[in-house]
Symmetry: C3
Subunit: 346 residues, 3 copies
C-alpha cells in the first residue's frame, strides 16, 4: 500500500482535485466499505450522496459535478479512474528478479533481464521467457514455449509445449494452455481413434486468462486468442478456435472447436458455442445461451438455441403465460364447438 | 480400516445393538455391494428387506424397527449414523506431523503444533498455519494467508496471498482460492482496463471446497464463504460474493460478482446466478437454472430465467403440448372464420 | 517431425498411392493451411476440389476417387487415415525413461521398465506404475494408486490414493482423479455432516481424460470409467457413477452421483445428468441438455428437461411462434365472444 496526496492522485489520473491538495489517501474502496483514508468513486451525480455519506476521505466524480461536501477529483470516466487509482494505491508487489534455485530449467532456455522464475517451476528445453516475465511457483512450461515481456504467470499454471504467449498477459492459477484438442474418429469397431493434436496456441499481447481454464491446442495450425481479450475462470476453448481482440469471455463459457469470434465480443457466463460457428464483431451473447448458428456483428442474442435477444425476451414473457394459454385454448375450442353445434341446429 | 464390534459401534453412534454384541464389523458399505463383514443401513422399513437380503453382517435401522433377520443397530437417523460409522470404520490416515524437507517456507511463517506440510509445498512470507493443519504436496500458499486449526488442504491447491481459511475446512485438489475477480472497465479505445483486485477472501470454519473450483478475491473488501457451507467440484465464485452458512453448492455452479446468498441455500448442479442478485435463507435453486433476480427466502426456483419451481413445472408441462397447441390454434382460427362467414351470410 | 514418402505412408495406412512413390511428405494439415510438403485429406469427392487447390503435396481420398490433379492415397476411411498419418508424421516425442532425481517416491513403489517419472512428481507409498508409463512434472500420485502400462499422465495431474488407471490411458493436465464425492447428510441442527468417501475409482484401458476434469471417488465401491471412453476438458463426474465403453463426454458435462451410462454414449458439451439416471447404450444427448430421467438405448434427447430430440426440435420451432400465438389466442377469444353475442342476440 502506498500513501499519496489528493493532488498527486488527481495529477496522475489526469483529473482536477477540489479540496485540500495535501489530503493523504492510503487506499481505494467501494463507498460501502471505504475507511477514513480511502478514496471512493461515484459514477454519476445520482450516486454522489451515498459516496458523500460514506466514511471515504475523497470521491472521484464526473466532470459535471463541480463541488461536494467531500474533497473530490473531477474526471471524465470515474470508474476507469478508480481502476487506475487502485493500481496507484495498491501496487502489486513484484518478486525479486532471478531464478529460484529449485527451478528445473531445460537446455537452450532464454530468459530475459528482470525475469522471475519461482520455486519448483519446471521449464522445458528451448523455452523463451521475455524480460520482466514472472513465472510463479509450481508452474510448468513445456518445450519450445514462448512467453512475452512482462507477462505474469501465477502459481500452478500449465503452459504446454510450443505455445506462444504475448506481452503483458496474465495467466491465473490452474489454467492449462495447450492440452490436446478433443479430436477422435470412430473406427469401424466403434472405438474412438485419437486424431493427434499437433498444432499449437498463439495468445497475443495483453490477454488475461482466469483460473482453471482449459484452452486446447489446434489439431494442425493454431488456436488464437486476440490481443486484449480477457477470460474469466473455468472457461473452455476447443481446438482451432480463433478469438478476436478485446473480447470478454465470462466464467464457465464453453467454446467448441473451430469457432470464429470477432473483436469486442462479450460472451456472458456459462454460454456454450457449437463448433464451426462464427460470431461477428461486437456481438453480445446472454448468460447460459447456447449458440448453434452464426451471430451477426453488433447483435445481441440469448436463450437456447440462441436467438435475437429482443425476440428471446418476448418468448420468455409468453412462456410465463403459456400454461394459462393452453387452458384457454381448450376452453375456446369447446366454445367454438358449441357455436358450431348451435349453427348446425339453427 | 479398523475392526469394531457391533456393540462398540452402536455405543459410539448412540444407538442400540440388537444381535450378538461381539459381532466383528470391518467395514461399511451400501447394501448392493456390502461384504460379509460390512455394516449397511436402511433409511426406512421399506428398504429393510433389501438390506436383509444383502451379504452385510448388520444393518443400521430406524428406531421403529425392533427386530430383523440380521443383527441391527436401532438409531434415530440411520443415514447420519451410517456416515459416522464410515468414519469409525475407515478412519482417514493422517500423515506424520512435520514439514517435509523439500517444502519452501517463507519468512515469518507460523506453523502450529501437529501440522503437516508435504513435499514441494511452497509457503509465502507471513503465512499462519494452525495446529493440526495438513497442507499436502505441491500446494501453494501465498504471502500472509492464514489457515485455521485442523484444516485439510489436499495436494495441488492454490491459496493466494492474504486469504483467510477457517478451522476444520477441507480444500480439494486443484482449487484456486483467491485469483483476481473479473473486473475490467472498457477504455475509450475499446480496450479492457483491469480493475486491480485488492480485496481478499474469508472462508469461515467447517467449509468444504471441491476439486478444481475457482473462488475469486474481492475487488476491495472480501469475498465471504459462511461457516459449514459445502462446495462440490468446478464451482465458480466471483468477486465480492457473500455466501451464508450451511449452504450446498453443487458441481459447476457459477456465481457472479456481488451476489448475496443466505444460510442453508441449495444451488443444484450447473446453476448460474447473475451479478448483484440476493438469494434468501433456505432457498433452493433447481439444476441448470439461471437466476436473474432476487429469490425470496424458503422458496424453490428453477428454469431460465428462474421462476417459482411449481410455475416452472407448469411451463414445462405446457411446453410438451405446445406444438399441438400451435396446430390447434391454427385450426380453431379457420373454424372461427368459417363461423363468421356463415353468420355474415345468414 | 518425420519425413516419409507417399508410398511409405500409403503402405503403413493400408491404402494405395497414386502418384510419385518417392514424393517426400513432411507433415499433415487441413487443406486450408497445408504447406507444400504436407499431406491433407478429402472426406468425399465433393471436398476434393478444395484439397486439389490447396498447397498440399498430396491428398488422402476415399477409394471411389481414382485419380486427381494431385498425388493421392486411396483408402476406405480418409478421416481415420488422416489421424493415423498425423501420428506417423508428427510422432510424439517421448521422454528418456528414468526417474528424475527430484521426484519424491514413497515406500514399496513398483515402477515398470521404460517408465518416466518427471521432476517434482510426488508418488505415495505402495504405488504401481506399469511399463512405459509417463508421469510428467509436478504430478501427484497418492498411496496405493495403480497406473497401467504405457499410460501418459501429463504435468500437474492429481491421481488420488487407491485409484486404478488402466493401460494406454491419457490424463491431461490439471485433472483430479479421486477427490471425495459430494456426500453430506443434514444433521438435526442444519449442519451438513460429511459422509466419508471411502470408495475408489477404476479407469479401464484406453481412456482419455481432458484437462481440469474432476472425477470423484465412490462413497463405497468404485466409480467406473469404461474402456476406450474419451473425456474432453472440465468434465465433472460424481461418486459411484458408472460409464460404459467408447463413450464421448464433451467439455463441461456434469454427471451427478450414481448415474449409469451405457456403451458408445455421446454427451455433448455442457450437458447435465441428474443423479441415479440410467442412459442406455448408444444414446446421444444434445448440448446443454438437462437429463432428468432415464434415456433409452439408441435414442437422441435434448433440451431441458431432456426429451426426444425430434420432439424438442418441434418445441423449439413452436417457441419461435409463441409470442404471436399468444396474441392470436387473445384475438380469437374476442372473435368467439362476438360470435356468441351475435348468436345470443339473434
Amino acid at each position: 500500500m502506498a500513501v499519496l496526496t489528493l493532488k498527486q492522485i488527481a495529477d496522475q489520473l489526469g483529473g482536477e482535485a477540489v479540496g485540500p491538495a495535501e489530503l493523504p489517501i492510503a487506499g481505494a474502496s467501494s463507498y460501502e466499505s471505504a475507511g477514513e483514508s480511502d478514496l471512493t468513486f461515484a459514477d454519476s451525480p445520482r450516486l454522489l450522496p451515498a459516496a458523500e455519506q460514506s466514511r471515504a476521505a475523497a470521491v472521484i466524480v464526473p466532470r459535471e459535478i463541480e463541488s461536494s461536501r467531500k474533497p473530490i477529483i473531477r474526471i471524465d470516466n470515474p470508474r476507469l479512474a478508480f481502476a487506475r487509482a487502485l493500481e496507484l494505491l495498491h501496487p502489486r508487489p513484484r518478486p525479486q528478479p532471478g531464478i529460484h534455485p529449485t527451478a528445473v530449467v531445460g537446455a537452450g532456455v532464454e530468459i530475459g533481464p528482470g525475469a522471475y522464475v519461482g520455486p519448483y517451476v519446471v521449464i522445458g528445453d528451448g523455452v523463451k521467457l521475455g524480460s520482466g516475465v514472472e513465472v510463479h511457483a509450481l508452474t510448468y512450461v513445456g518445450d519450445a514455449a514462448e512467453v512475452g515481456d512482462d507477462t505474469l504467470v501465477h502459481p500452478r499454471v500449465c503452459i504446454c509445449h510450443h505455445v506462444t504467449i504475448g506481452k503483458r498477459c496474465v495467466i491465473h492459477s490452474g489454467s492449462v494452455i495447450g492440452a490436446d484438442g478433443f479430436g477422435f474418429v470412430r473406427g469401424g469397431d466403434g472405438t474412438c481413434v485419437k486424431v493427434p493434436q499437433v498444432g499449437t496456441i498463439i495468445i497475443e499481447d495483453d490477454v488475461e486468462i482466469g483460473a482453471n481454464c482449459a484452452i486446447d491446442r489446434a489439431t494442425t495450425d493454431a488456436t488464437i486468442i486476440g490481443r486484449g481479450t480477457k477470460f474469466d475462470n473455468l472457461v473452455q476453448v476447443g481446438h482451432n478456435v480463433r478469438i478476436g481482440r478485446n473480447c470478454m469471455i465470462v466464467a464457465q463459457v464453453g467454446i467448441s472447436g473451430s469457432v470464429d469470434i470477432g473483436d469486442a465480443v462479450v460472451l456472458a457466463g456459462q454460454v456454450g458455442v457449437a463448433d464451426h460457428v462464427t460470431i461477428g464483431d461486437g456481438a453480445m451473447v446472454g448468460a447460459q445461451a447456447g449458440v448453434t448458428k452464426d451471430v451477426p456483428a453488433r447483435t445481441a442474442v440469448s436463450g437456447f438455441p440462441a436467438r435475437p435477444h429482443r425476440q428471446q425476451l418476448r418468448v420468455e414473457a409468453s412462456l410465463q403465460k403459456l400454461p394459462e394459454a393452453v387452458t384457454e385454448l381448450r376452453a375456446l375450442r369447446r366454445r367454438v364447438e358449441e357455436l358450431e353445434q348451435r349453427l348446425k341446429q339453427g
